[in-house]
Subunit: 108 residues, 2 copies
DNA sequence: AATCTATATTCGAATATTAGAATATTCGAT
DNA sequence: ATCGAATATTCTAATATTCGAATATAGATT
């Protein structure tokens, strides 16, 4: 495992966090596991699209799933992810307060 | 500023970290500022491409730059970014040890 | 076994990102 | 003012991501 490969895997994790809906999923899973239905109801997103995001997060090891009857419960697989997100959010808020311009989703 | 907008800006920060070269830049800037030349020599990357990455990181508030004569020194704008990266790296290493499959840059 | 409910997968078009190539800018020295 | 060194920008083709639409699967219920 070269350092370059580690950077690539690390970038993969960041990439998985780099989506507003997935970040919202993470905040919903912050304190407790949730079913897909619960998430669908809590968010403004289609069930299919939510399932796509969850599949991606599963494959990257961000969340884990367990089935219970018809429902599938998702939870964060590692609380450090939440910590990392919190830190980035702090940075964001500090930058906003200091008047930095961070708008725009397209490449600047 | 709605919660949705915050998620988008947050995703923007994650997106900016979601590239192996940019993560490598961050590790090079971990302890001290560096000039573009120093970074170009330390990494396997063209000067033009490095400059592109630095511009993106500047615009997202990840790094800041100061000129001194011909050289431009870059440094991390907020140590919390480094902390967040460290946490994600820890998660990555833990996942690797537990045998998770996280390979592949393409969409899984 | 037929059916219903919850969830997942596949496909495709629109959009975004990446890195190389070429070129431009900025500053210091002569 | 011109030149050279350091850095930045623009353009572009290749590649990757996103989300809706349609469809598929797994388990419960009758």
């Amino acid at each position: 495992m070269t350092e370059q490969q580690l950077f690539e895997l690390h970038a993969n994790i960041c990439q998985t966090l780099a989506n507003p809906k997935r970040l919202e999923i993470i905040t919903h899973l912050r304190d407790s596991e949730k079913t897909v239905s619960e998430l669908t109801e809590a968010m403004q997103i289609s069930q299919a699209n939510l399932s796509q995001h969850l599949a991606l997060m599963r494959q990257k090891g961000i969340v884990t799933a367990r089935r219970e009857g018809l429902n599938i419960y998702y939870r964060m697989s590692n609380p450090k992810i939440i910590k990392a997100c919190d830190l980035m959010r702090e940075v964001l808020l500090e930058n906003l307060e200091s008047g930095a311009v961070l708008v725009g989703t397209a490449r600047p």
